[in-house]
């Protein structure tokens, strides 16, 4: 029996590691019926951790969930974006009712109003109760559902921080309403919209018109990006647009790249270490969730510290790494490097030797540690 249990446990773990989509049915009072959801949690999602994750709501989940979830899984694997919780709402059988709007006011009415209420008053609380979702929420829509996502903007405090509209089939007057609403936003809002050369003609025309309106907006709080893809139709533009939209939304989150290193980190007047802390604080302030320290950024800060002979930063960085990753060689590697620069080879050697017993990281392995150790020994003997 014991064996049996461990088998079951293994099975669960495997499921989690592989970012398997979960299928749930939620009972909705507002809709008076059940609704199918598709949910993808981050790989290695742990409900007991204090970490929370951005929440992505995908309308038309029947077909839009999988490509969004695939993109999220891939990009977060490489730490280009944070891990996210993705929730798709299936609408295949109810689509036109769900997305229904009034023919005079052009706002959701009857079944459309119910669907709106379902998302704001039932779905979001449900997801927040059951999963570790942060307040940073993104909503995706395509075609008619890309019109619907806009209605959430018109709440006094909008429920979503980022809106992704692929080839929207906009209700009358939506273009001018969007222009007005987006220009008066007082909290940062991301708005992404896309069409393509072979898009459905009427949709392309109204999307281009709306783009012209939104482009005139002067508001620092609006982060707007528009794409007009070549050689793509109404559907192909979705696959092209998803990575673009995510790139835009998580631009600030991205690892320190060569450009940022050269143009911002090196010329930074304070300690390189303080640059790192400030960057991570900004991210937390902006997105409302904490970014975990990643190795790419550690290496960038270390490189800058070395280049500017900023030993204080190197020491602080090494200590932070030791604290954040106590089992990794990485902390010992940088602390050793610090002592070596300081000329204290004895202490450096101790660090490198101690580090050998720890876990290798992406960039530092046993061989590198051994090499560092021999160098330090040699320096000590001379």
């Amino acid at each position: 029996m014991k064996n049996f249990y461990s088998l079951v446990i293994v099975f669960f773990i495997v499921l989690n590691i592989q970012a398997q989509a979960i299928y749930k049915t939620i009972d909705s009072e507002r809709l008076g019926e059940k609704r199918e959801l598709k949910i993808q949690l981050p790989r290695n999602y742990d409900p007991d951790e204090k970490q929370s994750y951005p929440l992505i709501i995908v309308l038309d989940g029947d077909y839009l969930f999988e490509p969004v979830a695939g993109n999220i899984d891939y990009q977060s694997y490489w730490e280009d974006i944070p891990d996210c919780i993705v929730v798709g709402i299936n609408q295949a059988d109810t689509r036109s009712n769900d997305l229904f709007y009034d023919t005079e006011s052009y706002f959701p009415k009857d079944s459309g109003a119910q669907f709106y209420e379902f998302i704001s008053a039932e779905l979001l609380p449900y997801v927040e109760k059951n999963y570790k979702a942060s307040n940073f929420r993104i909503i995706f829509g395509h075609d008619l559902s890309a019109n619907f996502i806009n209605y959430f903007l018109f709440k006094d405090s909008p429920l979503f921080r980022a809106y992704v509209a692929f080839s929207p089939e906009l209700a009358p007057e939506m273009g001018t309403r969007l222009q007005q609403r987006l220009s008066e936003m007082t909290q940062e809002v991301f708005y992404y919209m896309a069409t393509s050369d072979a898009d459905i003609k009427t949709l392309r025309a109204s999307t281009l018109e709306t783009n012209a309106l939104i482009s005139t907006i002067e508001n620092d709080q609006l982060l707007y990006k528009f794409d007009d893809f070549d050689d793509a139709n109404h559907y192909a533009l979705v696959g092209r647009g998803i990575p673009k939209a995510l790139n835009e939304i998580f631009g600030l989150f991205k690892p320190i790249n060569a450009k940022e290193y050269k143009e911002k980190l090196l010329p930074y007047e304070g300690l390189s270490f303080d640059y790192l802390i400030k960057k991570y604080e900004d991210i937390e302030h902006f997105y409302g969730f904490e970014k975990k320290l990643i190795e790419n950024d550690i290496r960038a800060i270390a490189a800058a510290s070395n280049k500017k002979e900023d030993l204080e930063s190197l020491e602080k960085l090494a200590k932070l790494v030791k604290k954040e990753f106590p089992d990794s060689m990485l902390g010992a590697y940088y602390l050793g490097m610090y002592y070596e620069k300081e000329g204290n080879y004895k202490k450096a050697l101790l660090q490198y030797k101690g580090g050998l017993l720890l876990q290798p990281s992406q960039s530092v392995d046993k061989e590198i540690m051994l090499e560092k150790m021999y160098d330090a020994e040699e320096a000590l003997n001379n």
């Binding site: 029996m1 079951v8 099975f11 495997v14 499921l15 592989q18 970012a19 398997q20 989509a21 979960i22 299928y23 029947d62 077909y63 839009l64 999988e66 490509p67 969004v68 979830a69 695939g70 993109n71 899984d73 891939y74 990009q75 694997y77 490489w78 280009d80 072979a198 459905i200 003609k201 793509a232 139709n233 109404h234 559907y235 192909a236 979705v238 696959g239 092209r240 998803i242 990575p243 673009k244 790139n247 790249n257 060569a258």
Partner: protein, 399 residues
Amino acid sequence: MRKTILLVFTYLIFAFSTAQVTYKEISSASLNSERKLKIKLPKNYNPDSDVKHPVIIVFDGDYLFEPVAGQVDFQTYFDDMPSSIVVGIMQGEDRFYDAYYDPATGLPTESGLRFHNFVSDELLPYLDKEYNTSKFRVAVGHDRMGNFINSYLFKEDLSFQAYVCISPDFVGSLSSFVSKRLTLFKDDVFYYMATSEKDMPQIRENILVTNDEIKAVDNKHLTYYFDDFNGETHYTLVTSAISRSFDKIFDIYTPLREKELEEKVLPYEGTLDQYLVDRYNRIEKLFGIEKEISEEELEKVAKIAEQREDLQSLYKLGKLANKLHPETLLGTYYLAQSAERLGKTKKAKKLYESALVLEDALNIDKEYIATKIEELNVVLVDLDDDIDDEEIEEDNEEK
């Protein structure tokens, strides 16, 4: 205790029937070890049906499988590609050895060669045995594995018909052999390659040179696409590249849409039934899949025929529709229409009448046909034209 088991059992079934990704291990004689696979079968896959599916092999399945599977799901939903079997090979820590190459040629050697053989001689036959596979296979590789998949180009029998090389890390002389090899193909081959503005400089440089060489290849059997993505890195370019390449690989499979109708169907020289038939023959030849010409597509093309006032095409589309969908009145309706336009009113009327015993078409029902007949009755009162009854019978006999 029993309850626990039952609960677990239910959970297993639930996980199995909804999330279509299954995890398998295959033991390999070439590798002398087990290898983990991620497999996603088409929605509603039925092992007993005759329907065949292309196979997509995703190297570095650890991280590359999910975005490919997501793209395939999306594209299949709109019938923009045939429903396919996606197989990801988990490589994890073996990656380095799997991709092991000869530094001079860039081709796999030792452990790399064993992995090469595992895929072509063990994995592909295994999949063909287990599942309803068509003869069309796609290989997707990134970085080192983007270099690796090129090794299959040099086999006599092509293991793969489409190659998606995403920021391939070309080694040795391999890249210059690729363009030479692509020149020689006598069967259709699809080749896609991508780099990006912020790709790793050495990799990018090799790719750009290779692109120039492949672009110069003059071979009608080669379909080649290249992308250089703005602002993307060696990693972020991947999902854009997947989306682009899959759109292009299955380009001719997609349903007829606005753009094709305007740019290809409208100016087509010859009758439009021929356009449709050729189109579907190409699909069958390329993907090994029989796709049916839908009523909707016949209607779209018939509209174009009307637009170019092409009564002969309309007539032939009618014949084609009768052959493909004999149960509905669509074909007979087109035949009747072309007769009516030609002024053969009596013949048209007879055809309309014979349509009344058939089933409604998508957008044309018997009620509409009945009004057509009445219209013609009015016209016929004043007319006394000779019609060739044999001609009508001949048209209907062919059904």
